[in-house]
């Protein structure tokens, strides 16, 4: 009898313990999509696209399937991604339609949805930022909260923003100084928090002058501590030093290549090039660290390498570029190919 029980347990453990074994899918399929076109040396390469976990070979294990048999299937796909962040091989995607955070763990081949912060469901999870310790922040302007989660989506703490912060959307985290930058879109300012959510600094105010904002949306901090802010309705990018001092700006309204029509996400690569998502034209524009236009890639469409109203942007330490392609219901990942020095 004991042997039978042990055998049964063994089978259950085998089925449940082996998480998600499926035929491994190559994450980096070489489809040959590069920009710019040859014969120019390639700078950006398409890697893969994230929309559904089963496309990446992430299968549900036995226990998950059993649970879903009882409780009903969860919709597991990216529906309307707003922002994206990544730490190593873990990718966090905020989804405004499903009101969840998708967590793709490409190394462990696991997928997870976070739909709650503790016992409070998300209302509109928008900005995501990762800190250096495998934790991530989520801003939820609908509930006026900024949440901190651990790498598995367990809530560590929540902070309700003060009344003078109207709509916290974009997030950026400075690992060196351990500062969280929160973009207050309706308040036209950046609020700088420390680890304990104490306010350190305010940057901006509404207006058209240097250092002012008009509906800023996204922000990104590069390694040296320089903060880049997408000043969306002033149609420009502004850069600030780690002390909040205004450094420079570039961009203006227009439909030419170096102009902006509706700038959304921003990020920098390891060479200091500034990438800006141009939402209305469905492209990513790449500028040098001094604001010179380097490359424009993308275009409208559902194919790989094209976008449909892209929003969020993130570049990790390995120069992988993540783009939240909102209306194509996916996150596309590219690689910046560093020029050999």
């Amino acid at each position: 009898m004991n042997r039978i029980v042990a055998l049964i347990l063994l089978f259950i453990l085998m089925g449940g313990g082996c998480a998600a074994q499926g035929p491994p899918m190559p994450l980096e399929e070489d489809v040959g999509l590069v920009w710019p076109d040859p014969p120019d040396p390639p700078r950006i390469k398409f890697l893969y696209s994230l929309s559904r976990p089963d496309e990446l070979g992430i299968r549900k294990n036995f226990f998950q399937r059993l649970w879903e048999f009882v409780a009903g299937e969860q919709l597991e796909r990216v529906v309307k991604p707003y922002d994206v962040a990544a730490a190593g091989n873990r990718i966090y995607i905020s989804d405004v339609a499903l009101r969840v955070i998708h967590i793709f763990d490409l190394e462990a081949r696991r997928y997870q949805q976070v739909e709650r912060a503790g016992d409070r469901y998300f209302d509109s999870p928008l900005g995501i930022a990762v800190d250096g310790e495998d934790r991530f922040y989520v801003s939820d302007p609908g509930t006026r909260q900024i949440h901190l989660f651990d790498r598995d989506g367990k809530l560590l703490r929540s902070h309700e923003v003060a009344e003078d912060i109207f709509r916290p959307t974009g997030l950026a985290f400075d690992r060196t100084r351990q500062l969280l930058y929160v973009v207050d879109t309706m308040g036209h300012k950046i609020v700088v928090f420390d680890q304990d959510f104490r306010r350190r600094r305010l940057i901006g105010g509404r207006g058209g002058r240097d250092g002012n904002f008009n509906f800023p949306t996204h922000a990104f901090v590069e390694k040296g501590g320089r903060l880049h802010v997408v000043d969306t309705f002033n149609f420009r990018i502004q850069a600030f030093g780690p002390d909040g001092k205004y450094l420079f700006k570039f961009g203006r309204a227009g439909d030419s290549l170096r102009s902006f029509s509706q700038p959304k996400g921003v990020a920098t690569d390891s060479d200091g090039n500034i990438y800006v998502v141009e939402g209305r034209m469905n492209v990513i524009k790449i500028f040098s660290s001094t604001g010179q236009l380097l490359l424009v890639f993308g275009g409208l469409g559902p194919e790989r390498g094209r976008f449909w109203l892209p929003v969020g942007l993130y570049i990790d330490n390995s120069d992988r570029i993540y783009v939240a392609d909102s209306f194509n219901r996916r996150v596309q990942v590219f690689q910046y190919l560093r020029a050999k020095p």
């Binding site: 969860q74 709509r167 309706m186 058209g208 509906f215 109203l309 909102s326």
Partner: protein, 698 residues
């Protein structure tokens, strides 16, 4: 050139603001004024020196900035041409995926995505791609969801061909020509887009709409939608005041017009843009829209139909034929996922039985309000106005374009059955759920059709044919024109030439006034719900068989006695030949004898009406009776319960005896008589105990 360009826009705005044209001035200070200087706020500077006025339009209208200077060219790719981008006035023609929103609507969507509220407005392709549903809904939030089914369709061409195919549209509005204009327009080559209804530049009406939201005669919807019969409909002209608690305040139904029942950005999961047309799980429940008003409200708005449907018992479908199980035309879809959304039964299937639906709409066995009522054309003076029906004539495919339910037609014929034949006619097999008897076997009354779990009941189109031998007079006057029957019906205000409606029997249990059922303000007349089984307005016991010692309980057959005088059946003192022809040789009332249980001396029949009139609609499909009718052909709706047997024949026999004829070993008297050959409770109504009862020509 650049200097002039810089000045044109502010000068134009300056002129526009002062000339009173509502174009640019309409947007300044509105929710679409995103300028860092002017809005919404106290400062309304017009001077370009402040750098403010140029910024109002630029958030949606990207200015040209075609700088041919070389520093614009990307350093990494010197071959990229500036001509890759279209100008700011045309957003279409580029995309290749057909199912995503196109054109000008993307302009709206590129901003309304969450960072700058209104909420998170999001649209992903509708019917041609996989529909995704969000997992939870916050009630009251107007979200244009990933499921496009809950928003008015956009990105489709509205032209004369569409108008001809639809049949309920006016001519297409004009294409975009001159701006500004307040009218409803088509965009991007004749397409309906977000700006067809919303004018982002002007706040004339709430939500940037181009027309008033609440107006009986000048609302937005009727610019394009031409519903036949709407102008005379009760729903268009009703003046009851309703407040839905959604912040729009109180308006009367006429003023709400289309918005009483439709919401262009409705709850996720609702079909046909029904207002409030989905439940908390996001499953489409069209009847919820009707129940917004047609429920118990104080003061009352519409007739309270919801209370009728609430009578339907928890056990569905009805599997046991008891006297007290609730029943009704159940319109509510279950909340079990996987059952296709309820969109009412397909019209083409209802009218031509046996056909598959041309539109591929899945068949469900649930009924919706709109299967019987056309809400655009319904009138208090004819509650089925605009519904098509199947007539009694022909092969069951004769379609009547409009069923007249109220009032009865002047010549006394009624046509309500045309509506019922949509489901209870030749195609009943596909809609009527199976009914099981006490042992769990399916009940069948149709001769020759094998019993199966998919069918039950019977074909009313066949049963009510005027050529049949006996039937309740639904489609034609009955065959029994005897004086006795006339007297039976007189107290109820009927006679042998009367024609009744289906709803004179199948109605709410509150229809307790004898005779025909009429619709009064306090009672909802109709086959919606009843506490009695089979949607009957009164008790009609068939199973289990009650047994009480004493005279029979009239209340067990309350249904019949709404029209038929009960004295014809329960009077034991005389034959009551004035009211009935069913009496014996020695003038005993045979109905009384069969129905009563005991008279203190003898045990009698303890029968139910059901025993001999098994199918009281008609006996054309008697599965267990053989007839030898009298010369006048009337069989008095006799058809025996399937459990009756006889020793002399395969089935019980009901037959006419000419005078002085010998049959089964007995000789009939010298008068016309009728006999039954069957066994009941061991009483053999055959050779030995055969009875003769008077046959009076009917």
């Amino acid at each position: 050139m650049m200097r002039l360009c810089r000045w044109i826009l502010p000068i134009a705005l300056f002129l526009v603001a002062y000339s009173g044209l509502a174009w640019g001035a309409g947007i300044v200070g509105s929710k679409h004024d995103l300028s860092s200087v002017t809005g919404p706020g106290p400062v309304k500077a017009l001077s370009p020196a402040l750098g403010g006025t140029t910024e109002i339009c630029v958030f949606c209208h990207t200015p040209h900035n075609a700088n041919s200077a070389t520093d614009v060219r990307p350093l990494w790719n010197r071959n990229l041409s500036e001509q890759a981008y279209t100008t700011y006035t045309s957003f279409t023609l580029e995309h290749t995926a057909p199912a995503l929103p196109t054109g000008v609507s993307r302009l709206c969507l590129s901003c309304h995505d969450g960072s700058i509220p209104i909420g998170s407005v999001l649209n992903i392709a509708g019917s041609s791609r996989e529909i995704t549903m969000t997992q939870r809904f916050i009630t009251g939030q107007k979200q244009i969801g990933p499921d496009l089914r809950n928003s008015h369709p956009i990105s489709f061409v509205f032209d004369a061909a569409l108008k001809a195919a639809d049949g309920q549209l006016f001519d297409p509005p004009p294409l975009v020509e001159n701006r500004p204009s307040a009218d409803v327009k088509l965009w991007d080559g004749g397409q309906v887009q977000c700006p067809s209804c919303h004018d982002p530049h002007r706040v004339q009406y709430p939500k940037f709409l181009r027309k008033p939201k609440f107006s009986q005669t000048d609302n937005l919807c009727i610019v394009c939608h031409d519903q036949p019969g709407w102008t005379s409909s009760t729903h268009r002209n009703a003046l009851q005041v309703v407040n839905f608690g959604d912040g729009d305040g109180s308006h009367n139904v006429a003023e709400r017009a289309c918005l009483s029942c439709h919401d262009p950005h409705t709850k996720a999961g609702a079909s046909r843009l029904h207002r409030d047309g989905a439940n908390a799980a996001g499953v489409s429940v069209p009847s919820n829209t009707c129940f917004q008003c047609h429920k118990s409200l104080v003061p009352a708005v519409g007739q309270d139909v919801q209370t009728q449907f609430n009578k339907i018992g928890a056990s569905h479908p009805i599997t046991r034929d008891t006297a007290t199980s609730n029943s009704g035309h159940e319109p509510i879809i279950t909340t079990v996922t996987g059952i296709p959304p309820n969109t009412a039964l397909p019209e083409d299937v209802l009218l031509v039985p046996g056909t598959a639906s041309a539109r591929g709409v899945p068949m469900t066995k649930h009924v919706e309000c709109t299967d019987c009522h056309n809400p655009h054309r319904v009138r208090a003076s004819n509650r089925t106005e605009g519904i098509r029906g199947i007539d009694i004539t022909g092969a069951g495919t004769t379609v009547v374009q409009n069923v007249i339910n109220d009032p009865e037609l002047p010549d006394g014929t009624q046509k309500q059955f045309q509506l019922c034949f949509r489901c209870h006619g030749n195609s009943f097999d596909r809609f009527i759920p199976v009914r099981l008897d006490a042992t769990g076997q399916p009940i069948r009354t149709t001769v020759g059709v094998p019993a199966s779990l998919n069918t039950s009941g019977s074909n009313k189109f066949v049963e009510f044919q005027p050529s049949n031998n006996a039937y309740h007079p639904v489609a034609a006057a009955g065959r029994n024109t005897s004086a006795a029957l006339n007297n039976q019906l007189a107290a109820a205000g009927l006679n042998t030439g009367s024609i009744i409606k289906c709803t004179d029997c199948h109605n709410s249990n509150e229809a307790t006034t004898p005779g025909r059922v009429s619709n009064t303000p306090n009672m909802v007349s109709g086959p919606h719900g009843s506490i009695y089984t089979r949607l009957l307005r009164g008790r009609y016991v068939t199973d289990p068989r009650p047994f009480t010692r004493g005279p029979f309980v009239a209340n067990n057959f309350q249904l019949c006695f709404f029209c038929h005088d009960v004295n014809a059946f329960n009077d034991s003192s005389r034959s009551r030949s004035d009211l009935t022809n069913f009496f014996s040789n020695d003038r005993e009332n045979l109905h009384w004898r069969h129905l009563t249980n005991i008279d203190g001396v003898n045990d009698f029949g303890n029968a139910l009406c059901h025993d001999c009139h098994y199918n009281i609609h008609s006996n054309v499909e008697s599965a267990n009776t053989l007839f030898e009718p009298p010369p006048d052909g009337d069989t008095h709706l006799i058809n025996f319960d399937p459990t009756h047997t006889t020793a002399d024949a395969a089935k019980p026999l009901w037959f006419f005896n000419p005078p002085n004829t010998t049959r089964f070993g007995r000789t009939s008297p010298g008068r016309n008589t009728i006999s039954c050959n069957l066994v009941c409770h061991g009483v053999r109504h055959d050779r030995v105990d055969r009875f003769f009862y008077e046959h009076t020509p009917s």
